[in-house]
């Protein structure tokens, strides 16, 4: 089950494990599927593993695209 809710890395324990803040709860997750995870990174958790890192720049791009469409539709009227 992948809800796709982002979690923020709050601590790195060792090569394999770290802690994330997931909706306000601190949970222990396995970080071995990602390279060079750092405290402060946003990740997606699935079955106790961080499976991908969320890229801020790209997230911003999507938001810009959404804003563009929203403004476009407004001026269209």
């Amino acid at each position: 089950m992948c809800l796709g809710i982002p979690a923020k890395i709050v601590a790195i324990e060792n090569d394999y494990f770290g802690r994330v803040d997931y909706l306000g709860t601190k949970i222990r997750v396995n970080l071995s599927l990602l390279d060079q995870v750092q405290v402060g990174d946003w990740v997606i958790i699935h079955a106790g593993f961080a499976i991908t890192r969320l890229k801020e720049e790209e997230a911003q791009e999507t938001l810009n695209l959404l804003r563009e469409i929203a403004t476009g539709e407004k001026t269209d009227l």
Binding site: M1, C2, A47, I51, T52, K55, T62, A70
Partner: protein
């Protein structure tokens, strides 16, 4: 991230979709492959809004609990009920799938055996260490999102020299059933919304054949309502331009090449095999089995068992197979709601949170407007 949910933006996106449908000049049918997408579509009332805009969304085979056939369950139910000192560890949803032998949850374990629900496969390793004189069978079902965690678990079992641990791998690859659905021609599709987190692992390349060979449009998309709508817009644009591709609309989490570390781990531990899917039947090169160097951790080899397609289904009237192929809506099943409900499921699609029947039951009748 809040903005991804803004309703104002949602209605602007829907307007854009309407216009594009007008340009295309007909209704468009898109399959959302992932159960979590199905959830977003219903939870936020997008299903009806899109219907009005001219886009029909169909749910696909994107629920690992739903497509794992009964024979896997029967094997673990047998192990649990007939063998002493057996611990079957699995994800919660898997324990409630009804088969002709009951479900893992209703099965009565042998006197010293028990069932353990785990959230992460690595918990099974801890069980193996805590219960050295028990056999631990991890019944691991999943797509490419889950498979790397199973691969990690197997490598750890080897590193820790565990002698009482094995995996019954119900591991499924997403691109092959999409080919099977297209080749069968049962359902006319104009596009796919590809699963966001399977794609975070495999990237976009494995879907390319869909655009190139079948000329079907599609986009990898995220799980917010506006993510889904962006994915649909990208798909419609491809239809308008006549250039199908695999767009990545979830670029904050997905790259073209996927997650190389996870892919390498999967390839190190598993090899691809032909497999039977519930509802879809035999699909070449669609499943995974442990490689020879890990065979001591293979439940089937460890207990000399074979996966023989189950003849008896718990309820032949259950139409999960057709639901999973996008052929019918859950409400078209005669058992839906009357007999089959979340508290008394007749098929896996009513069990799993990613199952179309359960999602429909919970959110189906609810439009947002």
């Amino acid at each position: 991230m809040e903005e991804l949910r803004q309703e104002e933006i949602t209605s602007a996106l829907l307007k854009t979709i309407k216009k594009k449908i007008k340009t295309i000049g007909r209704r468009v049918r898109i399959m959302e492959v992932c159960g979590t997408h199905t959830m977003t579509v219903y939870r936020y009332g997008l299903k009806n809004l899109l219907e009005e805009a001219g886009v029909e969304l169909l749910s696909g085979p994107g629920c690992p609990v739903c497509i794992t056939p009964d024979e896997y369950h029967e094997i673990v139910i047998d192990l649990l009920t007939k063998r002493d000192k057996m611990i079957v560890a699995t994800f919660g949803d898997m324990t409630r799938v009804p088969t002709s032998r009951g479900s893992l949850q209703t099965a009565v374990p042998a006197p010293s055996s028990f069932l353990k629900i785990v959230y992460s496969p690595i918990e099974a390793l801890q069980l193996a260490q805590n219960y050295p004189d028990y056999e631990i069978v991890l019944f691991g079902a999943g797509f490419e999102t889950t498979i790397p965690s199973l691969a990690f678990t197997i490598k750890e079992a080897q590193a820790r020299s565990l002698r009482n641990f094995s995996l019954l791998a119900a591991c499924w690859l997403i691109p092959p059933p999409l080919r099977a659905i297209l080749e069968s021609g049962e359902v006319g599709l104009d596009g796919f919304l590809y699963p966001g987190h399977v794609s975070a692992i495999i990237g976009s390349a494995p879907y390319r054949f869909i655009a190139e060979e079948f000329k079907i449009a599609g986009a990898i998309t995220g799980f917010e309502p506006n993510d889904i709508l962006l994915g649909i817009i990208a798909t419609l644009d491809q239809i308008i331009n006549g250039i199908p591709e695999v767009a990545i609309e979830y670029c904050r989490a997905v790259s073209v090449e996927g997650n190389p570390k996870a892919l390498a781990l999967m390839a190190e531990v598993f090899e691809v095999k032909d497999a039977f899917w519930r509802g879809l039947g035999f699909i070449p090169q669609s499943g995974l089995t442990l490689k020879n160097q890990f065979e001591e951790f293979d439940t089937l080899k460890r207990f000399s068992l074979n996966l023989i397609p189950s003849k008896k289904s718990f309820n032949p009237a259950c139409r999960c197979g057709e639901v999973l192929r996008g052929l019918i809506q859950p409400t078209q099943c005669s058992l839906y709601e009357r007999l089959c409900r979340p508290e008394s499921p007749y098929g896996p699609c009513m069990v799993s949170f990613e199952g179309a029947c359960l999602i429909y039951y919970k959110f189906g009748q609810r439009g947002k407007s």
